[in-house]
Symmetry: C2
Subunit: 425 residues, 2 copies
């Protein structure tokens, strides 16, 4: 099997290195040899993390996608413009494509899958979600006997590193973000990571496989971690919760709910104990019950591990992206945001006057919202009481009505903060 690689950066370099160092093992499992024919790079003179002995290098990507001997193209450039163009060319040239590009699949997956099908080739993307964890194979093959009820995952390592540091060391968001950038975990422009866009890309892919529906990135409601306050982390801790940036996909009565946001999780759940840059995905099937998959969500060789697993599946013919067959994916029916049911954590700043807590809880009661737990923190320097409430499970629109009503009162001295809670039981 001859392959061509687009991009020899972190992931591409990792693939070359792993193919080399585990050559014997991979050949044994594969039953045949995988050889790199050609790789396209931006600048031939750049220093790389891998050796480039034994294959051609080019600065012209078309040399790869048009190469007559190349059977599989690894798209490891990233982004959605050039990568999309080259992926389309490769598929049209009847070459299989393996990609680690979540943005590409989340946004253009439907058309690319159709194009692959029309050309009788495959496009595989295990590495696009949760790095080295074989999560797409587990969902698509390992749990194939199940109707999937829930997917809930920590699927952005940078975000989880920041949340972990804030929790464990009481540090501020901005402070930890700077460290994450210095460590190379976060990009110079960290928007995709901290605003939840990267996680939303991955969640769209997970939901598509889990529920057998078309990819729909736009349907994911997305909130990042930049607004998470150390005070919320500390109050959540007191109430028995940890705040994680979670991607959640649910199917309820045939309708789908996909969202990415900071979430309170009970401390005792395994997901709450996934720290640093690690990823983990909880999947609940109606036969198997709860299962969880944990591992590194990024890194050169971890991501390469997933890329090469797809490659070996292609060589052996054991890949299984029939889930994605264009004709089989349904258009999904999504729950409107307002009609999503959830438990909520509220944090309210109010003047320290008698009757305020009674007033707030009676407004909640009027909207049929009951209070599962409440803490009132000591009065701050501005004479504000800090009140935190965990509600029962209610419709988002009811919650919003109640909050608007609470917010309108004179005694409220700040914006009411609201964070969803997932019990994951």
């Amino acid at each position: 099997m001859k392959i061509g690689i687009l991009g020899l950066g972190t992931v591409g370099g990792g693939v070359v290195n792993v193919l080399s160092k585990n050559h014997q093992e991979i050949s044994r499992r594969c039953g045949s040899d995988i050889s790199i024919e050609i790789a396209a790079v931006k600048d031939l003179k750049q220093k790389r993390i891998c050796s480039t002995d034994g294959f051609k290098l080019t600065e012209n990507s078309n040399d790869v996608v048009n190469h007559p001997d190349v059977e599989v193209v690894l798209e490891l450039i990233g982004g959605t413009s050039i990568a999309k163009d080259l992926t389309e060319k490769a598929l049209k040239n009847k070459k299989h494509v393996i990609t680690a590009n979540k943005a590409l699949i989340a946004k253009h997956g439907n058309e690319l899958l159709k194009l692959a099908k029309d050309n009788s080739v495959s496009i595989l993307f295990e590495a696009s979600v949760a790095g080295g964890i074989p999560i797409l194979k587990s969902l698509g093959q390992g749990l194939t006997a199940n109707k999937i009820d829930l997917v809930a995952g920590i699927i952005n390592g940078t975000g989880n590193f920041i949340m972990t540091e804030m929790k464990e060391k009481g540090r501020d968001f901005d402070d930890v973000l700077k460290e994450a950038q210095a460590l190379g975990y976060a990009e110079a422009d960290p928007t995709f990571d901290i605003e939840g866009i990267d996680a939303a890309h991955k969640l769209a892919i997970l939901a598509s496989i889990a529920f057998g529906v078309e990819l729909n990135f736009e349907a994911v409601s997305t909130e990042g971690i930049s607004q998470v306050d150390p005070e919320d982390i500390s109050i959540a801790d007191e109430l028995g919760y940890i705040i994680k940036h979670l991607g959640v996909a649910k199917k309820i009565d045939g309708r789908i709910d996909t969202r990415v946001h900071p979430t309170l999780i009970p401390k005792k759940r395994l997901l709450a104990n996934v720290n640093g840059v690690m990823n983990a995905v909880l999947i609940k099937g109606n036969a198997v019950g709860p299962t969880l998959y944990y591992g590194p969500g990024a890194g050169d060789e971890a991501t390469a591990s997933a890329v090469i697993a797809d490659l070996v599946d292609l060589v052996k013919g054991t890949h299984s992206n029939d889930e994605f067959c264009w004709k089989q994916l349904e258009k999904a029916n999504y729950i409107e945001k307002d009609n999503v049911e959830s438990i909520f954590y509220l944090r309210i700043l109010a003047s320290d006057k008698p009757g305020v807590l009674a007033d707030i809880t009676s407004i909640l009661a009027k909207h049929n919202i009951s209070v599962e737990s409440v803490v009132q923190k000591q009065i701050d320097a501005d004479n504000n009481a800090h009140i935190a409430i965990i509600t029962n499970k209610i419709l988002t629109k009811e919650m919003n009505k109640a909050i608007n009503e609470i917010q309108a009162h004179d005694y409220i001295t700040g914006t009411v903060k609201i964070i969803p809670v997932e019990t994951l039981d």
Copy 2:
């Protein structure tokens, strides 16, 4: 695809139920229909957990393995005598076999794989290890790019339930075992679960796939949980560890070490937080790093989920047990038990006399064993000091020499207890 089932007990009944309730989902993923042709049961009149509408029932298992229309036989009887005989007949009749039978595969897997190969059919056994967790597919396909360094798993739900109850409620082993039997977690004869034999079967299978070697159940050194003392659990807790019954398979310098025993694990590891009847397996690959897979290790529908995943793989041709191809599996080179390196926890009962601790630590030092931490508990009613020590990493034979020397002293008032420690870092 027409299937025949041997046994309609917990797992067989679960398979029938899941195939029925998730029929639409499975057909969509499968691309074709799976229909049950015939099932063999011990007693036609027995009450079952599943409906038997739509397929034939027989008390003669040969009706299943010889049935001309049956393409796949599900062996869900258990045990190694009748099950082995029927599996062989089915394979010789050129029918694929799917089994949940860990004892059968661990003890006779090599010959059965050869027989399957000779007859150009497959024998698949995802359900034999860790129930619903797709752990064999993850090892064989998802992590195929890796050299596997370590497999460490909680792979016996009954044992983990007992260890969890002992830890959380300070209960005695015998007391919890009785409850496990009343709850149906443990058999009337619990030997396989509590003496580690069931876990050893599963570990032998995991090691075979992880390292590409022949199945070798006899090479697994096996110790159960019946000797775990609540005092050890409580001292371990003080030292920052939790005791779990762990299956461990390592490959070090080309030599394999497989063992099942109670093990101290640092509290902060995810594996230490896997409780009750749940299973989890940690796998370290040289490319991906550490990954962990968690889920229910038993139960009718959880196990059925794994059986049906194999079935769908067969229908789609996406199964991948080439790892097991007779000609490709190597004979492994095992490390002698004495030459295994480990950290150890020791618990020593000694008369409360001056110089005892100094004497013990100097014996350890003489054998080049350093003490990483030590606690001495209050003196008991018999005037014994309870001393617990965590050592550095040393050869088992050195540890044993030191213990024999310590044990020989007059001031030692009980048998020195020794439990391996795995840091899993």
